[in-house]
Symmetry: C2
Subunit: 222 residues, 2 copies
DNA sequence: AGCTTCAAAATTATAGATAATTATTCCGGT
DNA sequence: ACCGGAATAATTATCTATAATTTTGAAGCT
């Protein structure tokens, strides 16, 4: 439920904090202290608390009454969960979007795909990838559905940044191209079916622990 | 995202308001005035505002900055949207729940079905119906998914109460029985397929307007 | 009568202050 | 040294107060 262009201080704070959590600047478990944040934003803690409630609803923060708010933790199970929810909802959105897709939209989606392939870091890739998905899904004209998908994309992005903090190697997204080809040919159900599999693709990368051990980190790459 | 058992005043207010909105006691478009609510709950408006943020995230209220908060309006398009989202997500949940279903759970789900059939008013029917769905889906062990489904159930219930305010005629739920039968036979995919259709069933009832005109009201009945 | 303009009232948004709760530190006992 | 427990500090949750904005309503004008 990302209804946010409004100018209220609370929503501005919530946007900035969401950005920090997603980017990893605020790591899982980090405490969000209302007074400190209020001071940083030059505001009182009333709007800060309201921002907390929205982050909570988005699944980015967890609040324990009287003990404060923390950045939500996550594990492989949640990465999987978000991937499957995205698959289910994006498939639904695409089915409804198909009738409203125009060649112009498909062209812009192709540009987004090219931008993703050319991306040299995770952030650029994520932005282009998100643009692709939004472009082909938005025409479904289902605002509540799109809001849910946006929140799931935020979660996906967080998993992604957490895994590929520094290491990112360009890849050619064959799924995106296949989806666009199917859509261009009027073969909607094939596009839907590829999208459903595509979103559930979970990438893995090894990372070195502080103690020197190596373990695998997982994230949604699609 | 209905994380609510906590004792904070804001969450209590949010629960009570959600209940009023769902039941129709607060009709679509009704203004929610922070001072009045604060006085009613014997609190200040700070926790009231926090409750607003949660209702907003649940899609039960709409806030226009500096112009106040209103109970969210809805139309046939949103009834359809919620029905389709529920279908997509409940199907996903059931697929994962199947492996964890026990005969005891199926028995309780059968009881819930019987209770729904026996219900003499909408409220009783809704409670029993919700219990049925929760029982067979909960074992999916996907908390984020279940939270989304809960929010969609709240929206469904609102549509339902809005349509069948006074008129309710008992019905025998063949879908529920068919789902349970399929689950009992180890025929999971059939159960999933029936559930997917079932949740999208939209009931219609004629209602008389204040001006004497009659029009049809729609709601999710499943 | 109907519209416009301005002032009063109501309401929202935020700040500042206070009480209550939780975390931390430091000290004495074992 | 280590553990437990008061005293202190930090933090949350809430209330009261103030500023800013919007709505309401009435007077004056065409």
């Amino acid at each position: 439920m990302t209804n946010s262009q409004d100018d209220t201080i609370a929503s501005r704070i919530s946007r900035v904090l969401a950005e920090r959590i997603i980017s990893g600047a605020l790591p899982p478990g980090a405490r969000l202290r209302q007074d400190h944040l209020a001071e940083e934003f030059g505001a009182s803690h009333v709007p800060v608390r309201e921002a907390f409630r929205r982050l909570e609803a988005q699944g980015l923060a967890v609040s324990e009454p009287r003990r404060g708010v923390r950045v939500a933790a996550f594990d492989l199970a949640e990465v999987r969960e978000v991937a499957e929810m995205r698959a289910a909802l994006e498939v639904l959105a695409l089915r409804h979007a198909i009738a409203n897709l125009t060649p112009a939209i498909l062209d812009r989606a192709a540009e987004a795909t090219a931008a993703a392939d050319a991306a040299r870091d995770v952030r650029a890739w994520e932005a282009a990838n998100r643009a692709f998905h939004r472009l082909i899904l938005e025409p479904c004209a289902m605002p509540r559905l799109m809001a849910s998908i946006d929140d799931l994309h935020a979660a996906s992005a967080r998993f992604l940044f957490s895994a590929w903090q520094s290491s990112w190697q360009p890849r050619t997204d064959h799924d995106h191209r296949a989806i666009l080809a199917a859509l261009g040919n009027g073969n909607g159900e094939e596009a839907v079916s590829i999208l459903g599999r595509h979103v559930q693709w979970i990438g893995r990368t090894p990372v070195r622990n502080a103690t020197g051990e190596t373990r695998e980190i997982f994230s949604i790459v699609g």
